[in-house]
Symmetry: C2
Subunit: 257 residues, 2 copies
């Protein structure tokens, strides 16, 4: 499994394709409805051709990677006319393997679990890859490919991946918005976010080192109802923040009671 066609030129494709190419995989073509995006990506990959319509006639790819948005995945799969002997994988954390069920080819999932941002380089060595395939030999091929990029490769089935994505929304999206709330509270008190940065860094260092359960501190952990009530009264004009404060404090108080 060495010849690859990439469908999609978004964030995941932008990071994945050059990394696979650097490992000796031959990216034959990049398809995108936005030709200029495909061309931009192909500049970073030797031999790859940018295409804005799906025509596999001239290629003999072993592997098709569908790196399109979660919403588009079902529709792209439905309209895909591809060689019958190729393996087709998607890269989505939210979609089950069965989103590809309209395809007669062998199917799998090749999901890198990381938050990709345009312009910020990702070190794939530390990115967990979650692999799923219908057949054992394809799973082995995908695991082998993932291991050329990363030391963290996991077998994760569609049901597990659904939970994993939900957990990632908490761990990344929600903790980040919690940081935003902290930043806004500081802004309103005319204090710089810099004040909290060492605490943030230590919070995550501790959670990574000891795990989040033994790392918990604070008024709710200490069952300190006086401080909790004072904080709730400070949030009187922010009903949504107050609700978050209340629910999280109750959960912490319960967990450590």
């Amino acid at each position: 499994m060495k010849k690859i066609i990439l469908i999609g030129a978004g964030n995941v494709a932008q990071h994945l394709a050059p990394a696979l190419s650097a490992q000796g995989y031959l990216i034959q073509a990049v398809f995108s409805r936005q030709q200029e995006k495909a061309e931009l990506l192909c500049k970073k990959i030797p031999q790859a051709k940018a295409q804005n319509h799906l025509d596999f006639g001239v290629y003999e790819a072993d592997l098709l990677i569908l790196a399109v948005s979660d919403d588009a995945l079902g529709e792209v799969a439905q309209n895909l006319i591809a060689p019958l002997d190729s393996l087709i994988v998607h890269t989505s954390g939210t979609q089950p393997l069965s989103v590809l069920s309209s395809l007669r080819q062998a199917k799998g999932v090749f999901y890198p679990l990381q938050t990709f941002s345009t312009g910020k380089k990702v070190d794939f060595k530390e990115v967990p890859f979650c692999i799923e395939a219908e057949e054992a030999n394809h799973e082995a091929d995908l695991i082998k490919m993932a291991k050329t990029l990363s030391s963290k490769v996991y077998r994760v089935n569609s049901v597990q991946r659904q939970s994993l994505h939900l957990a990632a929304v908490f761990a990344n999206n929600f903790s980040n918005h919690i940081f935003s709330i902290a930043e806004e509270i500081l802004q309103e008190a005319d204090l710089p976010f810099d004040l909290l940065k060492p605490l943030l860094a230590e919070t995550v260092a501790k959670a990574l080192d000891l795990g989040p359960t033994p790392s918990q501190t604070g008024p709710a952990r200490r069952q300190d109802k006086k401080v909790i009530d004072k904080h709730l009264s400070l949030l009187e004009n922010k009903p949504a923040w107050k609700e978050i404060y209340k629910v999280l404090s109750e959960l912490i108080q319960e967990k450590y009671s």
Copy 2:
């Protein structure tokens, strides 16, 4: 201002006293109702005497540091009979300067903003110190002392410190519990927490580097109602987690609409 008496031998005292001693401050005595705790701490500080009752007769301290629990602070201040020419500060993030108002001496606050754990050494160089004092010369003295320990020294008044502590509860306590929820979701899917560690590390690295507002990603940021509804349905049996998911997603959707 060189001679210091410490009242309290808890987490803050355990970290602060040896650090100040190493900077040339003379810790004359450590008072604690638990004599053995004071003795344990004094072993780490040359010349300091462990005491379990408050008697200032033999000392001539310039500075008294009240490093006792937030709850005990008012009571300790009320019962404190100390030299009239000494400066008395507390180290609490939750209590205003006025908690010391029963004292006739000059008063201030010397608050190191970090999460202290027994046994884990803290590098004070990166710890923000929040300083408040009634008089400018005492403020200057406290700032000078803080600067021997840390490069991050801020003037923070009592009203600001209240907001700062609330923001710290979000940034540390609540984000940590959000990590706990993510860990539990993974456990129930039979997946290791290790899977999420690189994402956690990257989440905070991005928030520290770019700030949390431009770092936000995820279904709520993309106004992806389909994924949000799916996640809510996965949380049907966890009403408190579902409520957190709902409120945070609504806040993110609003912020980026």
